[in-house]
């Protein structure tokens, strides 16, 4: 057990793992991007126009604009989670791709780091694709929105690292239902994606502050609405802190699973 707690042995070979995943993705790039876009866009238009028509302005903007910014965050989280859980588990457990890689001069730490960066990159692409569409639709005007790009990446990194913890613990694909049902979905409803957190009962509002997605929303939504986010450093620190801690936990659990 003790050797699983040693500090990470990382090298540039992690990028070879990233490139492996990129090469697979390239073969199916267009359907993959469209698939990542379709689901959130359906919700955005359905709720944004359907529900938004019933509402006055929310947080000073039309509801669909409010929801569009939340959708960018939620989609980034979902894309990172799906990649780290389902695709990561396929490569780790089903295809034994990680075992093949570890017979080469690549450490398991490199593999996990490469997977984490890959899932973050794919999540970034998913968030940015939605950002591009909502910008084209005229929901985003401010050049401040460019600052959302690194914020989206950081959000992706955070949920990739969290997802890899679940993957390291999973006996089978069915296990992931718990993560989505018990954590991802409630987080989406409590973090201000669909409505301002201020609508929640006071106890829930305090709880929401503990959720990484809520920090992503508080960081990214103002940028897309053309405002400088309040407490930006706090939100960045939470997302970065969760990324680092979650990555370390994922690493320890994955070592325990594969290197014993």
């Amino acid at each position: 057990m003790r050797q699983h707690l040693l500090r990470p042995q990382l090298s540039w070979r992690a990028l070879a793992v990233w490139r492996r995943n990129f090469l697979v993705w390239k073969k199916l790039a267009i359907p993959s991007v469209l698939g990542n876009l379709a689901d959130p866009m359906i919700y955005l238009f359905g709720l944004g126009y359907g529900l938004g028509g019933l509402l006055p302005q929310v947080a000073g903007v039309p509801y669909i604009v409010f929801l569009a910014a939340g959708t960018v965050c939620a989609s980034t989280m979902n894309a990172a989670s799906f990649e780290a859980l389902y695709s990561g588990f396929s490569r780790m457990h089903v295809q034994k791709t990680w075992e093949a890689i570890m017979n080469a001069p690549v450490s398991l730490d490199d593999v996990v780091a490469g997977e984490c960066l890959w899932a973050a990159a794919k999540a970034t692409l998913s968030g940015v694709a939605i950002l591009v569409v909502i910008t084209a639709l005229g929901f985003v005007h401010s050049p401040l929105a460019l600052w959302a790009l690194p914020a989206i990446f950081l959000t992706g990194l955070c949920f990739s690292a969290l997802g890899l913890i679940v993957t390291a613990l999973a006996p089978s694909y069915d296990f992931f239902m718990y993560y989505f049902t018990l954590l991802v979905t409630p987080m989406m409803l409590l973090s201000g994606v669909f409505f301002p957190v201020a609508q929640l009962p006071a106890a829930f509002q305090a709880g929401a502050q503990a959720l990484p997605l809520s920090h992503a929303v508080q960081l990214i939504r103002p940028l897309l609405l053309g405002q400088v986010p309040a407490d930006a450093l706090l939100h960045i620190a939470v997302l970065a802190g969760v990324s680092v801690v979650a990555f370390a936990i994922a690493l320890i659990l994955t070592r325990r699973r594969l290197l014993s």
Binding site: A16, L23, T97, A100, N103, A104
Partner: protein, 303 residues
């Protein structure tokens, strides 16, 4: 420099010692076989050698590097064919080799130059663009062998390289492994096919319950561990005959179902006796590695 030195290796899982003090060393250019029934500790030994799991005790040096401390550096000069195929199903043959070469830090141009000769070697010339999903089991094994050679390793480690293959496919793998030995590579393989071990290995070690119980060349093991002649006796009456008479003619015999294996220095008196027993069929043959293996590890199933 010794390609691999293992001394007093120990590894336990949950209080059970799976590898219990194993020592052996490979000489450059030889083929060394680790034989043993399922659960003997062969795969755990290989995992320790590659630095994929930390031993509880013992010293390991792989291509001159201490393991696990410098396992990553050591694996730069080692090729591995794992027990179960783990080729990348999303890629074609050439992409599998390209992506694998990148794990060694090789540049794309250098890898691409190596791909055609490796596919040729694996009998997969013209299959560069073929998806591995449509390859036969034998082709996949050969591609895995080619993948293990992408870094031009000094030492090749193969875990059950011909498991699940038909005889044609096995012979082709053996022929390729002999070519690699002829070109100066060192090979460590595990197997439980005795014909494979006898054909390929210059030296071998028989493992059981985490220990090496015999070590030497196949000829040495046969000469040193077992009587030179074997007479197999078949028939419904064979077990009864064994109880009544086998002890008189054979120093040692074993009954397995309706077959009796008699191990003898001189088969003539036994054969003369058996000629009087028309209800029994007999086969007289020289002792082989399988006889040694069964003598040392027993006939019970190991599941």
């Amino acid at each position: 420099m010794a390609p691999l030195t293992v001394s007093e290796l120990r590894k336990s899982y949950g209080g059970r010692e799976v590898v219990a003090g194993v020592s052996f060393a490979l000489a450059p250019g030889e083929c060394f076989g680790l034989l043993g029934p399922n659960g003997a500790g062969k795969t755990t030994t290989l995992r320790c050698c590659l630095g994929l799991t930390a031993p509880d005790a013992g010293r390991l040096a792989l291509v001159g590097e201490p393991v696990p401390a410098r396992a990553r550096e050591a694996r730069m000069r080692v090729g591995v064919v794992p027990q179960f195929d783990n080729l990348d199903p999303d890629f074609n043959c050439a992409e599998n080799l390209l992506v694998y070469g990148r794990y060694f830090g090789l540049g794309d141009a250098a890898i691409r130059a190596r791909i055609p000769p490796l596919l040729e070697f694996a009998g997969l010339a013209g299959k560069a663009d073929t998806s591995i999903r449509v390859l036969s089991g034998g082709m996949k094994r050969r591609l895995t062998l080619a993948r293990a050679l992408i870094n031009d390793p000094d030492l090749l480690i193969l875990d059950e390289p011909t498991m699940g293959l038909d005889p044609q496919a096995r012979h082709l793998i053996w022929e390729r492994l002999k070519r690699l030995l002829a070109s100066g590579k060192t090979i460590l393989l595990t197997t439980h096919f005795m014909d494979e071990a006898e054909r390929l290995c210059h030296r071998l070690a028989i493992m059981d319950e985490g220990r090496i119980i015999a070590q030497g060349s196949p000829q040495q093991l046969i000469a040193g561990q077992i009587e030179p002649q074997v007479v197999e006796v078949y028939g419904e009456d064979a077990p009864g005959w064994a109880q009544a008479a086998a002890g008189r003619y054979a120093k040692r015999h074993e009954v397995s179902g309706e077959t009796v294996f008699c191990y003898v220095e001189d088969a003539a008196p036994l054969l003369a006796h058996l000629a009087q027993q028309p209800q029994l069929r007999t086969l007289h043959r020289p002792a082989n590695l399988e006889d040694v293996f069964l003598k040392l590890t027993g006939r019970e199933l190991r599941d």
